[in-house]
Point group: C2
Chain length 256, copies 2
Amino acid sequence: MTEKADMRGIKMVVEYDGTNYAGFQRQPNQPTIQGELEKALSIILREEIKVVGAGRTDAGVHALHQVVSFKTYALFEADRLQWSLNCLLPKDIAVKSIEIVDSSFCARRSATSREYEYFILNQSHPSPFLDRYSHFVARRLNLKAMREAAQFLVGTHDFSAFCVQSTVGGLGRPIRTVFELACRRTDKPVKGLLIIRVRANAFLHNMVRTMVGTLLEVGLGNLTPGAVKEILEGKERTKAGPTAPAKALFLTNISY
Amino acid sequence: MTEKADMRGIKMVVEYDGTNYAGFQRQPNQPTIQGELEKALSIILREEIKVVGAGRTDAGVHALHQVVSFKTYALFEADRLQWSLNCLLPKDIAVKSIEIVDSSFCARRSATSREYEYFILNQSHPSPFLDRYSHFVARRLNLKAMREAAQFLVGTHDFSAFCVQSTVGGLGRPIRTVFELACRRTDKPVKGLLIIRVRANAFLHNMVRTMVGTLLEVGLGNLTPGAVKEILEGKERTKAGPTAPAKALFLTNISY
């Protein structure tokens, strides 16, 4: 069938401020990133477009590098489509690049790892510019203890203690592989930021924010690094720290 | 008089997102930075406080480093006052530091130079995160030509062509000394930013934004670098470029 032979796969890199959205995934009567992208693409390409995102970011979570794919019969120049989309999309969503790829490419299934960064403003005073995008903690965090605790979470584990418990059953085995979990203080361009970067093959629901909330308890001295190992092994969500606020979480990279 | 001997000078460094304010300077029935600071200080110190700012930023202009001074008889610990102020102030204004200084110190009169930076997002696509704080120009700007033009504006000149004309008479001689006017592209942390930094002993009303608007015309190829020299010498505002948008301008430093 010639039609199938002509179908093209499209890969887009998308950036968004998630403040005003109910998350990436399309939902009835709620503003979502997927919904906005599909609406704009369908208008421009004059066919109904359904997109797939590499990471299903929650309500209020941002993305500096989300990968989105879709298939289409429409013919277009990638640069022009990017320009038209950026004109049509709300100002808090932008398409950073578009490329034509093999039609077998799927942003979610083809992905081998996802990377998130969590921004903690750890200084004596708040920041007007970072308020929307960081979690303010005035008390000095113990970075060394946080790093020690983080090492227990690296590797292939059952992360039942670090996800929304009700979803464990539904999503299959709660086993994921964390490749990297690094904590660093930045000096430039902003002094006082403490950034937690985590990269894994995939994440359970709320897994990043629960890991961050638990590391924060360690940084504040409310938990010892060793307690994190016990929480992981105990597999009980109630033992881990609180879920850290969504506004400070950014999806920063997807690997293929 | 013992009372006078006890009066203390206070120097505060303040950061603010100017988006929702009618500028720094107090105005009746309008939200201003000065108004918010005086209201919060007067509540905490239980006396009427009047502050002086080093730079009178316009409506919509931001500050990463504004210096504010006032005098008071009240006794307090600087750290505690800072904490209380940051609790009481709106989230888009923050006090970065407070120190007790000689009571002769005046944020405005004691200042020897002011520095501003203007953020231009010069790439093919807009940015959800920088939209509030930068001026988006999709066409590639000619940095070399902008730098060449900028050099004509450095030094002591009559800047009548680069300010709100009606204010020239009222404010005395329109002569200012520009110490530095530098254009650079950034690679980190954000690729695609072009930043114009300008430092002068003082600025006329709208002077920075008119200089930026004129340099943008040069960068776009609408004006030659040499034309900027003629505009400066011609002293006519109508010959210079448009006033660049306020949202991309930041007060970044004050020297004493």
